[in-house]
Amino acid sequence: MIQLDNVHVALKGFDLTIDELRIPKGFTVGCIGRNGAGKSTLIRTMMGLTVPARGDVLWDGAPLDVAMKERIGFVYDDLYYPKEFKVKALRRLFRSVYPTWNDSLYTELLESYGVSEKKKIKQLSKGMKMKTQIALALAHDPDVLIMDEPTAGLDPVVRRQFVAMLRDWMDAREDRTLFFSTHITSDLERFADYILLIDDGRVKFFLPIDEVEERFVLVRGTTNTLSERDQAMFEGVEWRGSQFTGLIDRSTHPIADDWIVERASLEDILYFLTEVTHDEARIID
């Protein structure tokens, strides 16, 4: 569905480099990474807002054009519209540009979310702004949903409802594609088909969920069961007194039978695989 080749984005103080990335059609791709890792930049690059210094970004094999954008629903981390405007201004705007706009569906969604169109945008809470964006995105019946941290600022109950809603949306038709970036990895655990891990402006991995589960495990133990050689086998280790917890990639290092092995959650994977800066390391010590 979306193809990035040899892409390099150079911004002030930040670089994003993607050698090759293929987002498949009809699946849910969860993009995880720390704040500032490049998730938003990636999304902006896909949407044609950020122009890369080099490389190609293709949608269905062609550069992003107007016809393709008609099929894309987007939800960003904020409502980027003049804050003094009333919410109903957004309906006018979207209705005039999307040929597949369904006005009654939009009304229904806003009502179910409890968003009042008479309010000014600045009067909406973070959660309301998100819901408004979702309503705007869904109301024109897109084939693809691109979301940049849509659940940030939502409480856990609302987040669960949100993920359930996305599930329903994906299940309703077979060819729908969802690209969803978040640092709240628990949202994706039971939901994503593919996981894209971005760290420090680079892709750490892009794997289907079965492979992620297959490869990454947490190993716990006491330091006396760990030899020097063993330590190098971990993707990342953490020490608490004489106890260690480490992440192992089973495809590169098999597990010994007498180790205590645990499921590595996406958060664990993110934690152990990402770079900890020197300043941060100092805080931990």
Binding site: F27, P208, D210, E214, V217, R263
Partner: protein, 127 residues
């Protein structure tokens, strides 16, 4: 099909599905030529990714436990009876191994363990 998956256990979800299907076949819960839910439906039911259910079915097919008919779905392949008992026996051996390991960790010697087994077996016989 009743499958229970746990997000806490270290085994990948697809592996858990495979194990449970195997067990159900061995116990006769799933019968030959019985149709399995589609990968989409199973994914919905278990709230997992279709990638997981697809992988599970692929593994099962590779192991000769199910077969798929294009456009119709996946079905249980008839297993020779001894294949079923073979599997159950393997499961038993695995459990035995785990128990023995625990015994070793507790500090029991091979003799201690043999004595314990005899005690239990005798109890069984007198019942």
């Amino acid at each position: 099909m009743d499958i229970f998956i746990s997000h806490e256990r270290p085994e990948p979800l697809y592996a858990q599905i495979v194990e449970q299907v195997k067990e159900q076949i061995a116990r006769g819960v799933l019968e030959p030529d019985e149709q399995l839910p589609s990968i989409r439906n199973l994914a919905k039911q278990l709230e997992v990714s279709v990638i997981t259910t697809k992988r599970a079915y692929e593994e099962l097919e590779n192991e000769g436990l199910i077969y798929s008919v294009h456009g119709r779905g996946s079905f249980i392949r008839a297993q020779a009876n001894n294949a079923k008992t073979e599997w159950l026996r393997l499961e038993f051996e695995k459990k035995l191994e785990a128990v023995l390991q625990e015994g070793r960790l507790l500090g029991l010697t091979a003799n201690d363990i043999r004595l314990l087994i005899d005690v239990y077996l005798e109890e069984e016989e007198t019942k």
